[in-house]
């Protein structure tokens, strides 16, 4: 789920996080001994292996025929084939799930940003009664376990007849997306100099026009990152999706993939190929957003 840094705690300055971008030349130290150098690389190679192996194994398994996956001995390659992907895309409801996830995540993203952008700006620029309480609410919503909202939201959706619709999921995801986006956007707005607002005010722009015509265009990268991250959290959500969606064609990816691995006779060949197709777009989006993400998270907390 979406995640936010508590206001009360002071993370390092934003420069600290941004320093990730350009490795700072390290202070000269005595040269590392060859032994230490080998130990360093050995540790990192092991760590990298641990990080990459599960991904590689799933990818390798996804191009094995089903009969080869069901073998007890380990083999990296076994008559590679794209058959699993063909079955997945033509013989199952996977394309529906994929489309449903895209729609749900996209709407969550758009509404999440739209509902929170002005609030992020107000929290960044103005001191107004209720500001502190609002910040605390954002923090508190991060602590909500899915367990406390899912039942009441479910019963409300059932009363409205929205169960098994995409709208119910978008609405449920907004509970996380809106406070998260407001928090993140506030952090990005904080990095835009106030002098610009003041200049705009001198030129006779009101607060709304300043926001719309001056600050919003400058905050485009921050908005993009927030939007993408919101998209990803909705893409990866499963608890609401499994509870709310009831017919196979309405499933999103998380609920759908689960169908492949029932307790008995799981179809790992479909699961692994599905997993690859789910992860690819998410990973691309992630690597675009990742560099700016930590900076945004910590920047949100530098002022209370």
């Amino acid at each position: 789920m979406a995640e936010v840094i508590p206001e009360a705690i002071q993370p390092p300055t934003i420069q600290g996080a941004q320093a990730l971008e350009r490795p700072r030349p390290p202070h000269r130290r005595n040269r590392r001994s060859p032994l230490a150098s080998i130990a360093l690389h050995a540790t990192l190679v092991v760590a990298t292996f641990c990080a990459l192996f599960p991904i590689a194994w799933v990818v390798l398994s996804s191009i094995k025929p089903a009969s080869e996956i069901r073998r007890s001995e380990i083999q990296l390659f076994a008559s590679p084939t794209l058959e699993n992907y063909r079955t997945l895309l033509t013989g199952t409801d996977f394309p529906y799930w994929f489309l449903n996830s895209v729609v749900v995540a996209a709407f969550t993203m758009v509404f999440g940003i739209a509902m929170s952008a002005t609030a992020g700006y107000a929290l960044s620029r103005f001191n107004f009664p209720g500001k502190r309480q609002l910040m605390w609410t954002f923090l508190l919503t991060q602590m909500f376990p899915v367990a406390i909202l899912i039942v009441p939201i479910y019963t409300i959706m059932a009363n409205l007849g929205l169960i098994d619709t995409k709208a119910s999921l978008v609405i449920a995801y907004m509970t996380v997306a809106v406070p998260f986006c407001a928090w993140m956007l506030r952090g990005y707005f904080d990095t835009i100099p106030r002098e610009l607002d003041e200049a705009a005010a001198l030129d006779g722009l009101g607060p709304f026009a300043t926001f719309w015509r001056v600050v919003l265009p400058l905050a485009r990268p921050g908005i993009a990152v927030t939007a993408f991250y919101t998209f990803l959290t909705a893409w990866a959500e499963v608890a609401y999706a499994i509870a709310f969606m009831q017919s196979s064609r309405n499933y999103t990816l998380g609920a759908g993939l689960q169908q492949f691995v029932p307790q008995f006779s799981p179809r790992w060949e479909l699961l692994t190929s599905g997993a690859v197709l789910v992860t690819l777009p998410a990973a691309l989006v992630f690597f675009f957003a990742q560099r700016h993400l930590v900076a945004g998270l910590t920047a949100g907390g530098t002022k209370g």
Binding site: L52, P54, A122, F126, M143, I148, W268
Partner: protein
């Protein structure tokens, strides 16, 4: 009041959309959820009226005689005394799960961050490779690890067999089953810690290290006396966050252990979820769990803040 409104109306107007969403989508359900925890609501008594169609298409409705009713603190008593559900078993699981995951996240993340903070060939390659698990959606990671630990076709048991050991039936014993979930979650969560701590490391003034070196401090002394204190603000934030996220981590337990064996590896969040949506749906039990989980987290965050404040952290 009037003056205050004139001065702040545009700020308030700007936060209105968010406040409405929070009110309708978070606050109202929250109040309802707390309310439900004081009733005996379940799937059979959720209707307040029973409607029957009569000839001619008209509907007559009368109050449901078995409708859910207020039962006071009964649910809380039942849950905490173990009369309903397995609260304490799940509570212990949640503690073990949270402490183990957060500890490994932090220690491994810090170790990797310290290594990556040095200058050496291939550093950016390692950095990208080590972040990759973060890019994998959590439910996909859960399925992947379930597959890896699969008793018959899993690669771990395959490796054990290859070196002549007996395969392990991971999901037939409580602690081995929980272990698989912890491995999966550690794998998933280390990159965030690593990146956050790396950011913290790079904000530490390099002169401090040089001065310490000139004074003859050993690398360990430098780590304990400069690195760790320098990281404190980041550490306290990511540990608090990590604890809350792990405590509420749904997909890993739900897909990796699935509560096997026989619900013994359920944590509180998945326990609540299963109460609400599996078998006979007991909404009031799930709501009670939800309130208890939230209370635990709020108390934890409060204590955590206190302790940090006592140690001189500025808030």
């Amino acid at each position: 009041m009037r003056k205050s409104f004139d001065k702040h109306w545009y700020a308030w107007a700007m936060v209105v959309p968010t406040v409405i969403v929070l009110g309708v989508l978070v606050f109202y359900p929250l109040v309802r959820g707390v309310g439900q925890s004081f009733t005996n609501l379940n799937e059979s008594n959720q209707r307040s009226e029973i409607c029957t169609k009569v000839l001619g298409g008209e509907e007559t409705c009368k109050p449901n005689p078995d409708a859910a009713e207020f039962v006071g603190l009964d649910n809380y008593v039942d849950v905490l005394t173990g009369a309903q559900g397995d609260f304490w078993l799940q509570f212990v699981n949640t503690l073990v799960w949270t402490v183990a995951c957060v500890t490994f996240h932090y220690v491994l993340g810090l170790g990797l961050a310290v290594m990556l903070n040095r200058e050496f060939r291939g550093r950016s390659f390692y950095r990208v490779a080590l972040i990759l698990p973060w890019a994998v959606p959590s439910f996909v990671a859960a399925f992947a690890w379930r597959f890896i630990f699969d008793e018959r076709f899993g690669v771990i048991n395959g490796a054990l067999r290859a070196i002549g050991l007996d395969p392990v039936a991971w999901f037939e014993q409580r602690w081995t089953s929980l272990f698989t979930a912890i491995v999966a979650n550690v794998w998933l969560g280390v990159p965030f810690m690593m990146v956050a701590l790396l950011g913290g490391l790079q904000s530490i003034n390099g002169d401090l290290y040089e001065a310490a070196e000139i004074d003859g401090a050993t690398p360990w002394q430098r780590f304990v006396n400069i690195t760790l204190p320098g990281l404190r603000p980041v550490s306290s934030t990511v540990i608090l966050l990590g604890t809350i996220w792990t405590f509420n981590m749904f997909p890993i337990i739900y897909f990796v252990t699935r509560g096997q064996p026989a619900g013994e590896t359920e944590i509180l969040v998945t326990g609540a979820y299963k109460a609400a949506f599996e078998g006979i749906r007991d909404y009031s039990l799930a709501a009670t769990y939800g309130v208890l989980i939230l209370s635990i987290l709020v108390v934890y965050a409060g204590v955590y803040k206190r302790v940090l404040a006592k140690q001189g952290e500025v808030f």
